[in-house]
C-alpha cells in the first residue's frame, strides 16, 4: 500500500515535468502541424539559461529565494527570443511542405542548436542545486522527498490551467482554436494566421524552456539532455493524441506512472515500457487517445 503511494508520487512528479514539455509540443503541432524535434533543444536552452541566471544571481550574494522567479524569467526570455526567431527566420519559409519534411527541418534545427549550446556553454556540466535544496524535505512514511518536487507539480498544474484558460476562455485562444480546426477557413474569415503562428510557437518554446529551467536545479545540466527528452515527449503527445492539451496531460500521467512503477518493480523495463505503451496505444487507436476524427480528403 505504502509502496504504491511512493510509486504514484514519483510518477506524478515525473509526469509534471513531462507535461510541461508535452503541452508546448502538442500546441505547436495542433496549430502548425509541425512535430517539433527542436523542442528538446529549447528545453536544454531553458535549462542552461535558468542555471546560468540563478548561478550568477547567487554568486552575487543575492537572496536565494528569488531564484525561482529567475528560473521562470529565464524560460520566458528563451521563449521570447527563440520563438519568433525560429518561426519567422526559418519555419515561415517551409510552410506548405509535407509534415515529414517539416519534421526534418526541425531535426536540422535541433542539430544546429545542440552545437550552439555547446559553443555557448562549453561541455562542462552546470550544477545549481540551491533552489532544489532550499525548501528542505518532507516525509511520506519512511521516505524523505524534496519539497521542490511539490513545487514542480504545482508549477505543472498552474501552467496547465493557465494554458487551458488562455485557450478556451480568451479571444486570442479562441482564434487559435479556430486555426487548429481549419486553417484555410480561419484565414478566409480574416484571422491573421501568420500572427497566430508566431504567437503559438513562442508560447510553445517558452513552455519547453520552462520545463528545462524548472528541472535545471534538480539535475546536472550537461550537453545532450535534450536528446532523451524529445523522444519521451513524442511518446507522451502521441499517446494523448497530437494537438490535444488534455491528451498531453493524460499521456504525461500514463508515461510518468508506468515509468515509476517499472523503476520500482522491474528496473530493466524502464525505458522500453514507455515505448511499448506508445506502440500499444498507436496500435489500438492509431491517432492517439484524444485525437479529433478527421475527414478523409481525396
Amino acid at each position: 500500500m505504502f509502496d504504491l503511494a511512493a510509486v504514484l508520487f514519483d510518477g506524478v512528479v515525473y509526469s509534471s515535468w513531462l507535461f510541461m514539455m508535452a503541452a508546448g509540443l502538442t500546441l505547436i503541432y495542433g496549430v502548425m502541424r509541425i512535430l517539433n524535434i527542436a523542442h528538446g533543444s529549447l528545453y536544454a536552452l531553458g535549462a542552461y539559461a535558468g542555471a546560468s541566471l540563478v548561478g550568477a544571481w547567487l554568486a552575487g550574494g543575492h537572496p536565494p529565494a528569488a531564484s525561482y522567479a529567475l528560473l521562470l524569467a529565464a524560460a520566458l526570455l528563451v521563449g521570447l527570443v527563440m520563438g519568433p526567431l525560429i518561426e519567422r527566420g526559418l519555419l515561415r519559409l517551409m510552410y506548405g511542405r509535407d509534415e515529414v519534411v517539416l519534421l526534418l527541418v526541425t531535426y536540422a534545427l535541433f542539430l544546429i542548436l545542440e552545437d550552439v549550446i555547446k559553443l555557448a556553454w562549453g561541455v562542462e556540466s552546470l550544477v545549481v542545486a540551491e533552489p532544489y535544496a532550499l525548501p528542505g524535505n518532507f516525509r511520506i512514511g519512511k521516505l524523505a522527498y524534496p519539497v521542490y518536487n511539490l513545487i514542480l507539480i504545482g508549477a505543472a498544474i498552474v501552467i496547465g490551467l493557465v494554458v487551458a484558460w488562455g485557450l478556451y476562455r480568451t479571444r486570442q485562444g479562441k482564434l487559435l482554436l479556430a486555426v487548429i480546426h481549419d486553417r484555410e477557413m480561419s484565414a478566409a474569415m480574416g484571422i491573421n494566421v501568420a500572427r497566430v503562428y508566431v504567437f503559438t510557437f513562442t508560447i510553445g518554446a517558452a513552455l519547453a524552456a520552462a520545463g528545462g529551467a524548472l528541472t535545471a536545479p534538480a539535475i546536472a545540466v550537461s550537453p545532450g539532455i535534450g536528446v532523451e527528452v524529445i523522444v519521451l515527449s513524442f511518446a507522451v503527445v502521441v499517446i494523448g493524441g497530437l494537438g490535444s492539451l488534455g491528451g498531453a496531460a493524460l499521456g504525461a500521467l500514463i508515461v510518468g506512472i508506468v515509468r515509476s512503477a517499472m523503476v520500482r518493480y522491474w528496473p530493466e523495463g524502464e525505458l522500453f515500457s514507455v515505448y511499448l505503451v506508445m506502440a500499444l496505444v498507436l496500435i489500438a487507436r492509431p491517432k492517439g487517445l484524444f485525437a479529433a476524427p478527421e475527414a478523409r480528403k481525396i
Binding site: R97, D98, D115, K118, L119, E270, L271, F272, M278, A279
Partner: protein, 313 residues
C-alpha cells in the same frame, strides 16, 4: 537485353571497387565498408520513401542486424561472416514481415512515430540487458567466410569485397524492382492511394512489400557495419541513428538507387573530415547542409547528377 545506364554504372563501380581492394589503405577500406553498409540501409529507406512513407525508426533493423550478426558469434559460437550476414537478413526480414502487417496501415507522421516507437523499444531492451553488455555493447570477430578461414589482419579487406558485391548486387535488384510493375505502383501510391485502389491494385501489398525490403536491407547494412567496426552497441538502434539515415536519404535523393550511396559516401567523408578539424561544429554543419538542401535542392544531390546527364545528352 540492353543495359541501362544505372546497371552499367553499378557494374563499373563494382569492378573498380573490387580492383582497388588490395591497394587501398586500411582506413579507406573501413570508411568505404561503412559507407556501403549505411548506404544499404538508406537504400531501404528510399524504397519506402517511394511510397511516400518516411520511417524514423530504421535504426530498429540496423541495430537488429548488427546484434543478430554479433549474437551468432557470441551465443552460437559460429564465427563465419556469411552465417552472420544470413542471420541478420533473416532476423530483420522476419521482424519486418510481422511489424509490416501493422505498419502498412499507417501513413505520414503516424507511420514515422510508430516506427520510432518500435526502434526505441529495441533500444530500451538493449540498453538494460546486462547479458548483452548494456550501453557498452560487445565485440564480435568473424574468423571465416562461407567456411574459408581468413588470414588474420585481412578480414576487413575481405568483408569490404563481400560488401561491394552484396551491396551493389542488392542495389541492382532494387533498381530492377523499382522499374517493375510493383515498383512503379509505389510512386502512384505516394501521389494518390485511393485512385490506386480504385484501379484495382492492393495498396497494402505494395507498402508491405516495400517495408519488408527496407527491413531486410537495413538488417544487412547493420551486419556489414558490425563486421567493419568489430563492435555493436545500443546506439545503433537509437533515434539519432535513424535520423541520420533519413538525413542521408534526403542528402542523396530518392530518384535513383545510386543516390543513397552517393549520399552515404559524402556523409561519411564529411564526418571524418569534420571530426578531425572541427569536432565542435559537426552537428551544426549537418543541420545547415540539411536546411540548405530542403530549401534549394529538395530532390537531393542526385538531381545535380541527373541534370548533368541530361545536359550531356
Amino acid at each position: 537485353m540492353t543495359l541501362d545506364r544505372t546497371t552499367t554504372t553499378l557494374a563499373v563501380a563494382a569492378v573498380l571497387l573490387l580492383a582497388a581492394a588490395p591497394f587501398l589503405p586500411q582506413w579507406l577500406v573501413f570508411l568505404l565498408t561503412l559507407a556501403l553498409a549505411k548506404g544499404l540501409v538508406v537504400l531501404g529507406l528510399v524504397v519506402l520513401m517511394r511510397t511516400g512513407l518516411v520511417s524514423f525508426g530504421q535504426g530498429l533493423y540496423f541495430g537488429l542486424g548488427a546484434y543478430a550478426a554479433a549474437l551468432v558469434g557470441a551465443a552460437a559460437e559460429v564465427l563465419d561472416a556469411a552465417v552472420m550476414l544470413a542471420a541478420a537478413v533473416a532476423g530483420s526480414a522476419g521482424l519486418a514481415a510481422v511489424l509490416g502487417l501493422l505498419l502498412a496501415r499507417y501513413r505520414d507522421i503516424f507511420f514515422a512515430m510508430l516506427s520510432l516507437a518500435f526502434s526505441m523499444i529495441l533500444y530500451g531492451l538493449l540498453v538494460k540487458s546486462s547479458a548483452l553488455g548494456s550501453t557498452d555493447g560487445f565485440n564480435l570477430h568473424a574468423k571465416s567466410f562461407a567456411g574459408i578461414t581468413l588470414p588474420a589482419g585481412a578480414e576487413r579487406r575481405v568483408f569490404y569485397a563481400v560488401a561491394v558485391v552484396a551491396v551493389l548486387g542488392a542495389a541492382w535488384a532494387v533498381h530492377r524492382y523499382l522499374s517493375s510493375h510493383y515498383g512503379r505502383l509505389a510512386t502512384a501510391i505516394r501521389d494518390n492511394e485511393l485512385r490506386v485502389e480504385y484501379l484495382g491494385s492492393s495498396v497494402f501489398r505494395v507498402v508491405f512489400a516495400n517495408y519488408v525490403i527496407a527491413g531486410a536491407l537495413g538488417g544487412l547494412g547493420g551486419a556489414f557495419a558490425a563486421l567493419a567496426v568489430g563492435h555493436v552497441d545500443p546506439e545503433t538502434a537509437y533515434w539519432t541513428t535513424s535520423g541520420e539515415f533519413v538525413f542521408v536519404a534526403i542528402l542523396g535523393g530518392t530518384g535513383n538507387v545510386l543516390a543513397p550511396f552517393l549520399g552515404a559516401a559524402i556523409f561519411e567523408a564529411v564526418r571524418t573530415v569534420a571530426n578531425q578539424y572541427a569536432p565542435n561544429v559537426w552537428q551544426m554543419t549537418l543541420g545547415i547542409v540539411m536546411l540548405a538542401l530542403i530549401l534549394f535542392l529538395p530532390a537531393g544531390l542526385w538531381s545535380l547528377v541527373a541534370r548533368l546527364r541530361s545536359v550531356a545528352r
